[in-house]
């Protein structure tokens, strides 16, 4: 086992619990605000309220996979295990928001389209993205060697992140059932305010999740290093 280039630094956790509480409180507040402030849409009725969670969840998912791309490239470039752990944390959180996006889309699709699921370009490409990152996480669980795990998962992470522009553009490249992206011009301001407020709060929750998952992974790796060092009779 080629156990790594250097030891993993244990991150300090000071202040993150408070950050988490503030993030969750912000998400509750923005959801209540959006619920109260937005009137039913002319076409969708109360269904528009689902968009305050569906759209921000999708944007946060894209953001997570952008983080995976950046830190996977950085890991391949510099070989620092912290970058691999951070990419993995972002991939897991991204997969959670990806799953949430799909579920919320289905819940919205049933009353709006009459079906829970259709093999539409946007839905299918989002499902493919989800499966790629589930595969990424499965891969990490099966490869023990940290360097190889980091390199293989960086390759899958980069390929997965490259799928993001396809998901984004799918509604313009293939005209199927999912609507085109809305613009500031075709949506009332109050809906945009609710959507961006929820996006902001969801980004805070995302940051908290990534940080906590990274922290747990870094502490785990540091404990493994210490155990190996102790077994070899060296210092921790």
């Amino acid at each position: 086992m080629t156990d790594d280039v250097h030891s993993v630094q244990v991150p300090r956790s000071g202040g993150w619990t408070t950050f988490g509480v503030v993030s969750i409180a912000a998400l509750i507040a923005t959801q209540v605000f959006a619920f109260i402030s937005s009137p039913p849409d002319v076409n969708m009725g109360q269904l528009e309220k689902i968009l305050y969670v569906h759209v921000p969840a999708a944007w946060v998912m894209f953001l997570c996979f952008a983080i995976v791309l950046v830190y996977s490239l950085r890991f391949l470039w510099k070989g620092r295990e912290e970058d691999d752990l951070l990419a993995a944390a972002a991939a897991e959180v991204g997969a959670i928001f990806n799953g949430l996006t799909l579920l919320l889309g289905m819940i919205w699709g049933k009353p709006a389209w009459g079906v829970w699921w259709v093999w539409d370009a946007r839905l299918t490409s989002t499902l493919v993205l989800f499966l790629v990152f589930v595969g990424y996480l499965a891969l990490r669980a099966f490869v023990e060697d940290p360097q190889r795990r980091g390199q293989w998962s960086a390759a899958v992470g980069i390929l997965g992140a490259l799928n993001v522009p396809i998901v984004w553009e799918s509604v313009t490249w293939w005209r199927t059932l999912h609507q085109m992206p809305s613009t500031m011009q075709d949506m009332a301001k109050i809906y945009w305010v609710g959507m961006f407020a929820n996006f902001g709060a969801m980004v805070l929750v995302m940051v908290y999740f990534i940080r906590r998952r990274y922290e747990a992974a870094a502490i785990e790796r540091a404990a493994e290093h210490a155990a190996q060092a102790a077994a070899l009779g060296g210092d921790e």
Binding site: V10, Q31, G45, Q46, I96, V205, A223, A229
Partner: protein, 52 residues
Amino acid sequence: MEASNWGFVTAAYVVTWVLIVGYLAYSQRALNRARAEYTRVTGRKPGQGEGA
């Protein structure tokens, strides 16, 4: 369609919060487990002194 929409809206928010709270609990458990393991191996709490 209007009257029945509230069920879908409620379902969407319930799914959102079940996922968020569930993942929050999962993350916290994983973090507590990692901290306990680190303390067991090193005799220190994580973040105290140098990294391993």
